[in-house]
């Protein structure tokens, strides 16, 4: 069957066809293919079919008969337009290069500075582009939020862009529509709108262009209102600043200048928009090298077990409500005026010791409050930082970077009230998914139904999109023009790397429609905004800013407000609550739910739990024992009459009587990866208590679920794998680390000789915070497949790089150590001699090469690898069928077949790329020129790679440090990857008192 057959249809059918053709004409490229498929299921088409081919109709009705399959394949072959994607430089035509565009060499990647958004704020990145296809994001070293590194989310955005489940067409009340239909329909909606009937809802956003457009919009539609809702937002921080400083201010920190850091439930190493920068600064303050052994000291009080807590030198697991009492006790001990000492869960003597430590370090300290703590704790932190003299040295305040905050946007609760009152004629949602993630007490879905009309702009046709009048597919941040501010206000430009795959629109383009300029492209809108803002030769400034990624000197001026008297804002610390407390926290992978459909993040083992593909109610060992829970027991969680069911998981060091409920799961319409995975903690979250709430009831249901973890055993069994010591022990005896693993290295075989380079790596366990950025970077760089929960359950995850986590000591304490573990590229590799077909061989530069083509899959090498870093394609794990994923892959790395072994290659493709460049330029490869993907992503610079034959290379210098050691060297494997021991810097006073 083809469309040509149908052209002989009678008059009546011809009309139906004309309508269908019109519909098809609206679709282009990938959409076209999809729409044909979807078209087949419409009532019109079936009717037409019945009239035309009564006998075939039955066949067509079958869900996926062979016949229909073949018809669709044939049709898609005949009719499909553009397959894959459009190169960045071409607009409408796709033809292979006849003349090579300037600057493009096929096979050589180009990098473009752009930014990705974390909590609405810019993280500057360089996007790697292969012939117009973005394949990888690297940190932009020039950008203040990145400093050259990225986080796990940024690394996974590439997959999000190519996600085949992204929304691909405009939807009108759930039916397929088009941008043209939308723009024409919306103007009449706007014309008929009662004054004040327009509402805009945004998440956290910092785009100056968007702010300008919003201002225009609010001016254009008098009475229109802007609301802001970010499920994992910084409202408490803003509110705390308002309390203590009298105005909503943005606060950021400089940890590199801090010798003593106190975290009040702040997971600043992971979940702050500036965490990438903070990690770097924090680890810079802890680097032990070349005899310099000064380390900062981190005190953490928290309820959940976080990676910030994991790095702490002293940590107390407190009920979330008890943290304010601790903050108050500490403030009193520090002598903050107007704060009286209160009883806290941490002994007063310890609090006094912390205060003495802080005082002793004067202005080189910082107190960081967490976003989940009430505004009073933020205010107390401001007061303490002011009392210590930290403001201006380690703590900085600026005007808010968030445009919603800066412009006094309303809250979601106010919006819901207006919706309930029926006064909203048109609600425009720029991103976000409030139907899923709004507090349960607001019943946003019901309120939404009362809006006259609603428009949802989003990457996915998600829960909210399905309940809106219009859904507009959003252009991904790698597909659209925009801008954003970093944590300090620096303006960063977002440039598209590719034409929108699914004709998505940016928020700017949507707002332009509302402003009556439906044909304005995002490019023009952003340029237009900055043409009014910039002085000097605009084209030069613009081009330079695009090249560098950010506009120089746009960071906000810092302000030094005075802290108001505590009596004005200090509220009594909440009374110790009985029963169990619920803590809501963003999931380390799914975040607030926006990454739920991202397979890379779903399969990413969460730090500390190593859970994949699910969220779980996290409890401490003692609480689990009291409630009779084991890992995977399904519990009924009831809070204020609202109930969800989810599995329990025991986490060492978690606060007792507290249950952490990670957000971001239980999605209904996330896509094929994220729908129906985990439980929805938003169902228990209320606007009154968005972060923690007392009165949680936990009941064991007796049911169980298998949760997939990549690590099952967290006890190091006394083996010398991760070596750690206190910094004082190390100062006294620097040889102590190596002494623990030293043994005679004798061999009857002659050693390998390396004439040229000898590649090696060193991983600083003292810097590694276990943030997982390297793991996802490795996945993105090396085309590592996602295997799914069932395969993770049988221990077949494919990650070449994993972060081994071991807990030490009392399970009630959080004393983990992290050890990134990847192929050690042994000098005498046990895998090499056992391969019968020579598929894994030693290279002339000391790499342990894996020859996929030669591998027959005996798996002997994996068995014989003492580090168990080899990964096997037990099934066809690489997705060879999904079209949209094909352009995503790194063309420099083989996409592996079923039945072959694979493992870390030290990013051999990057070595070869650098070698080619060096040969072309007639020079040697420079130290630092080759960065492995994990090294490049690492925010803490824990990973160093280079030539160990070169005695002055960074890696050789690292390997010369006394704390640099090899793992399992007793086997005489002579690993090329070495590790630097982990150190702690406990306060001698506290150590003595607790001992």
């Amino acid at each position: 069957m083809g469309l040509s057959d149908m052209s002989t249809a009678p008059e009546q059918a011809a009309q139906g066809l004309a309508a269908m053709r019109a519909r098809l004409a609206q679709a282009r490229g990938k959409t076209y293919w999809r729409s044909l498929e979807e078209l087949a299921d419409t009532a019109e088409f079936k009717q037409l079919l019945r009239q035309e081919y009564p006998r075939e109709a039955a066949v067509w009705d079958g869900s996926l008969s062979r016949r229909r399959f073949l018809q669709l394949i044939g049709a898609s072959l005949a009719l499909a337009g553009v397959a894959g994607c459009t190169p960045r430089n071409a607009n409408e035509k796709i033809v292979p290069y006849v003349r090579q565009p300037e600057g493009v060499t096929p096979g050589v990647a180009r990098y473009f500075a752009t930014a990705v958004l974390m909590g609405g704020q810019a993280l500057g990145v360089l996007a790697e582009s292969h012939e117009g296809r973005p394949t990888k994001l690297e940190g932009n070293p020039e950008h203040p939020a990145s400093l050259g590194a990225t986080n796990a989310f940024a690394q996974a955005l590439i997959l999000q862009m190519y996600d085949p489940d992204r929304s691909q067409t405009v939807l009108n009340a759930g039916n397929e529509s088009s941008w043209q239909q939308f723009t024409s329909a919306i103007s009449s909606t706007l014309n008929g709108l009662a004054p004040g009937g327009l509402r805009i809802l945004t998440g956290a956003a910092t785009s100056p262009t968007l702010a300008g457009q919003m201002a225009d919009l609010l001016a254009h539609f008098p009475g229109a209102r802007w609301h802001r809702y970010e499920p994992v937002g910084d409202d408490n921080s803003i509110e705390g600043a308002r309390l203590a400083l009298g105005q909503p201010l943005n606060t950021y920190y400089d940890f590199s200048a801090a010798s003593v850091i106190v975290s009040l439930d702040a997971n600043f190493l992971y979940d702050d928009p500036a965490s990438v920068r903070y990690q770097r600064q924090f680890s810079d303050g802890r680097r032990v090298a070349d005899g310099l052994t000064d380390m900062n000291r981190l005190y953490v009080v928290e309820s959940d077990s976080t990676i910030t807590g994991a790095m702490a030198d002293h940590r107390w697991a407190l009920l979330p409500g008890d943290i304010q009492a601790f903050a108050q006790a500490l403030a009193a001990a520090l002598g903050v005026a107007g704060v009286a000492a209160v009883e806290s869960a941490v002994p007063a003597a310890t609090v006094a010791a912390i205060a003495r430590d802080l005082h002793a370090n004067g202005a080189r300290t910082v107190v960081v409050p967490g976003r989940s703590q009430p505004p009073a704790v933020h205010a107390l932190a401001h007061a303490m930082n002011a009392a210590l003299g930290n403001i201006g040295t380690t703590v900085f305040m600026t005007e808010p970077v968030d445009i919603g905050v800066a412009n006094g946007a309303g809250t979601l609760a106010e919006l819901v009230a207006d919706l309930e009152a029926g006064s909203v004629g048109l609600l425009v949602m720029l991103g976000g998914n409030p139907v899923y993630d709004a507090p349960a007490d607001l019943a946003f879905a019901d309120a939404l139904a009362k809006a006259g009309a609603s428009i949802h702009l989003g990457l996915y046709a998600d829960e909210t999109a399905q309940r809106c009048t219009w859904h507009i597919p959003e252009a991904h941040s790698l597909e659209a023009w925009s801008d954003a501010r970093a944590f300090d206000g620096s303006v960063t430009f977002i440039q598209p790397l590719i034409q929108p795959l699914y004709d998505g629109k940016s928020a700017h383009e949507l707002l332009a429609v509302l402003l009556g300029a439906p044909n304005d492209a995002g490019y023009d809108l952003v340029r237009k905004h900055w043409q009014t803002q910039l002085s000097g030769d605009f084209e030069v400034v613009w081009a330079t800013a695009l090249h560098d990624g950010s506009l120089p000197n746009t960071k906000f001026a810092t302000v030094t407000p005075t802290v108001a008297a505590a009596s004005g804002w200090l509220t009594a610390a909440p009374a110790a609550a009985g029963g169990l407390q619920a803590v809501f926290a963003p999931d380390p992978s799914a975040w607030d739910g926006r990454y739920a459909n991202n397979g890379w993040l779903q399969e990413l083992p969460r730090p500390l739990t190593k859970l994949t593909w699910d969220n779980a109610a996290l409890v401490s060992p003692a609480t689990a024992e009291r409630l009779g829970l084991t890992n995977g027991d399904i519990v009924r969680l009831t809070l204020d009459g609202r109930t969800v069911h989810g599995p329990a998981w025991i986490v060492p060091g978690h606060a007792d009587n507290t249950v952490t409920l990670p957000l971001g799961y239980g999605r209904q319409a996330a896509g094929r990866v994220g729908s129906g995975v985990g439980f929805n903690a938003y169902a228990l979250r209320t606007s009154a208590a968005p972060w923690f709430a007392a009165g949680l009831e936990v009941t064991k249901t007796g049911e169980r679920i298998d949760l997939a973890t990549t690590q099952l055993h967290f006890n190091m069994e006394g083996r010398d794998l991760v070596l750690s010591a206190t910094i004082d022990e190390f100062r006294a005896e620097p040889g102590m680390i190596r002494a623990r693993v030293d043994h005679p290295q004798e061999s009857i075989y002659p050693a390998w000789k390396y004439e040229g380079h000898a590649w090696g790596m060193s991983v600083d366990l003292n810097a590694c915070v276990g943030c997982n950025a390297c793991v996802v970077a490795c996945v993105a760089e090396n085309n590592i497949p996602v295997v799914g929960k069932e395969q993770v359950l049988v221990q077949r995850e494919m990650h070449w790089l994993r972060i081994d986590t071991y807990f030490e000591g009392d399970p009630a304490e959080l004393n983990p150590v992290f050890q990134p573990m990847m192929c050690q590229h042994c000098e005498d590799a046990p895998c090499e001699p056992v391969c019968p077909v020579g598929a894994t061989v030693h290279s002339s530069e000391g790499l342990n090469d894996m020859v996929y083509n030669r591998c027959v899959g005996t798996r002997y090498c994996a068995n014989n690898c003492p580090y168990k870093v080899r990964r096997f394609n037990f099934l066809q794990f690489s997705d060879w069928n999904t079209e949209s994923l094909k352009p995503m892959r790194n063309p420099d790395v083989t996409v592996r077949q079923r039945g072959v072994m694979e493992k870390c290659t030290f990013c051999v493709q990057r070595i070869e790329e650098a070698r080619s460049a060096a040969i072309r330029e007639g020079r040697a490869i420079r130290d630092g020129e080759i960065k492995t993907a994990c090294q490049q992503a690492c925010p803490t610079q824990a990973i160093i790679f280079g030539d160990i034959n070169d005695p002055v290379s960074a890696v050789a210098r690292r390997k010369a440090q006394p704390q640099d050691y090899g793992v399992l060297t007793y086997l005489n494997t002579k690993p090329r990857t070495s590790y630097m021991a982990r150190f702690n810097n406990p306060n001698p006073e506290i150590q003595a008192s607790s001992a």
């Binding site: 967290f714 006890n715 083996r719 068995n863 066809q876």
Partner: protein, 466 residues
């Protein structure tokens, strides 16, 4: 047919049996009675119901094997329970188990022949067949377990344009040669031994088809003195060639483990301990088959209690060597002072797979001690049960070696469990079906006791009486 009990007193005792007065062949046999009794199993028309039933069961298991292998080829080795760290699972356990079973045949045929142990005569033929079939089953697994089985021939050093050559340092490479050589020599030995019997069958066959088939297979054997001379020379030569293989094959299979650095594998005691284990398992399997076979075909006069008893003693002896191996492994783990070896040993005994270790000790060490008692040794039912226990026990031993060593090795972060899937069991049980099918076909279509050698035995012993 003459009954043993009724005429025992009148007959002289065959030379081998002075010790316990049980003959290796029941008295009163003539050349003709030997030809008739053994040959008739093959030349009889029609099929017995018991045989058909047995074959049907075996064949349905073989079909299960084909289904399992088809699914394996469609989906990949991921249909099994293997993972990282346990990269080898049932496939390698089965390989080692089957190869072990395949040892008894060559031992009985070659070594006992060279040592002039006449009692081997009536059991050597089917022991050799069993060897051959066991090796066939074993040889399937190294191919099936490959991630890309379509490229198994890359293990063969063959001239090619890919500039491709195997990696001879790998024990898997040695394995390939060891198994291939063993299979080839076993086949030759078995077939050469069959030639005179095939000629006997040719001469006795009534149907034209049988005559032609056996005629071709007997390769023109006429029984002349020259034929016999050459036959003897060749047979002894092959026996001499096969003898080192008894030791070498399982030694090399043990290198697959011993060359590895995995605690629990890396052990110098493996070669002798594996060979002893192979003989142990091989004799258990011979008994497992011989006992019902002689009962069903009323061959008690050829496969006498004397055979069973001797085999029981070999089993007991090799079992003690195996037990010594276990003890030395424990000792060395302690004596080495190596924390990884130490943990491995403790984990073997009381870890999550400790129950397999317990079963292994029960089946391989405890139960075979019953063979010290003559009453048990001479009771076919007991002997059969003990043989069954040993067969299971040796499979458990390989499970302990392969799985328990791998599942917890050096880095605790990578420790995991191995859970076999339906397809693991299906493949294993399927090869049992393949083995049994081949055995059933063999006992029906070829003489499962050597006619020629039995006649020789009759000539040397009972023949004189008549």
């Amino acid at each position: 047919m003459i009954h043993e009990q009724s005429i025992r007193k009148e007959l002289i005792v065959p030379p081998m049996d002075r010790a316990d007065h049980v003959p290796v062949i029941a008295p009163g046999q003539t050349f003709e009675s030997v030809n008739e009794q053994i040959g008739s199993v093959v030349l009889r028309r029609g099929f017995q119901r018991g045989w058909l039933l047995g074959l049907a069961i075996a064949f349905s298991l073989l079909m299960l094997f084909l289904v399992a292998v088809t699914w394996l080829f469609i989906r990949g080795v991921g249909v099994w329970g293997i993972n990282i760290p346990v990269g080898w699972g049932f496939a390698i356990i089965n390989l080692v188990w089957w190869i072990g079973i395949g040892h008894a045949g060559t031992l009985i045929s070659a070594i006992l022949l060279l040592l002039r142990q006449q009692w081997r005569t009536s059991i050597n033929r089917f022991a050799e067949a069993m060897t051959l079939f066991a090796v066939a089953c074993a040889a399937l697994f190294p191919i099936l377990h490959l991630g890309r089985p379509q490229f198994f021939f890359w293990l063969i050093p063959y001239p090619n344009t890919l500039d491709y050559w195997p990696q001879f340092r790998s024990p898997l490479m040695w394995d390939f040669f060891a198994i291939a050589t063993y299979g080839l020599v076993s086949l030759l030995f078995w077939f050469v031994g069959l030639i005179p019997d095939l000629a006997t069958l040719r001469d006795r066959a009534k149907s034209a088809f049988s005559r032609v088939t056996f005629g071709i297979l007997s390769m023109g054997w006429r029984g002349s003195a020259v034929h016999w001379k050459r036959y003897q020379d060749l047979y002894y030569l092959l026996a001499a060639l096969a003898t080192p293989l008894v030791v070498s094959v399982h030694s090399i299979v043990s290198f697959d483990f011993a060359v590895g650095i995995v605690p629990g594998w890396h052990s110098t005691i493996f070669p002798p301990y594996f060979v002893a284990g192979a003989i142990f398992a091989g004799f258990a399997m011979v008994l497992l088959i011989a006992i019902p076979l002689r009962k069903y075909y009323h061959m008690e006069n050829f496969i006498t209690d004397r055979h069973l008893r001797n085999m029981a003693i070999v089993m007991l002896t090799s079992g003690l060597v195996v037990a010594y191996g276990y003890i030395m492994e424990l000792f060395m783990a302690w004596y080495s002072g190596n924390e990884y070896e130490g943990y491995m040993t403790v984990n073997r005994i009381i870890g999550p797979y400790g129950w397999v270790f317990g079963l292994m000790i029960l089946c391989n060490v405890v139960i075979p001690q019953l063979l010290w008692f003559k009453r048990i040794r001479t009771n076919t039912l007991w002997l059969w049960g003990i043989s069954l226990a040993v067969s299971f026990g040796m499979w458990f031993e390989r499970f302990v070696i392969v799985i328990t060593s791998l599942h917890r090795d050096f880095l605790p972060s990578s420790w995991a469990m191995y859970t076999p899937t339906f397809w693991d069991y299906a493949t294993f049980i399927g090869t049992l079906g393949l083995f049994a099918t081949l055995i059933f076909l063999f006992i029906r279509f070829l003489p499962f006791i050597s006619i020629a050698e039995t006649r020789e035995l009759v000539h040397q012993t009972g023949g004189k009486v008549e």
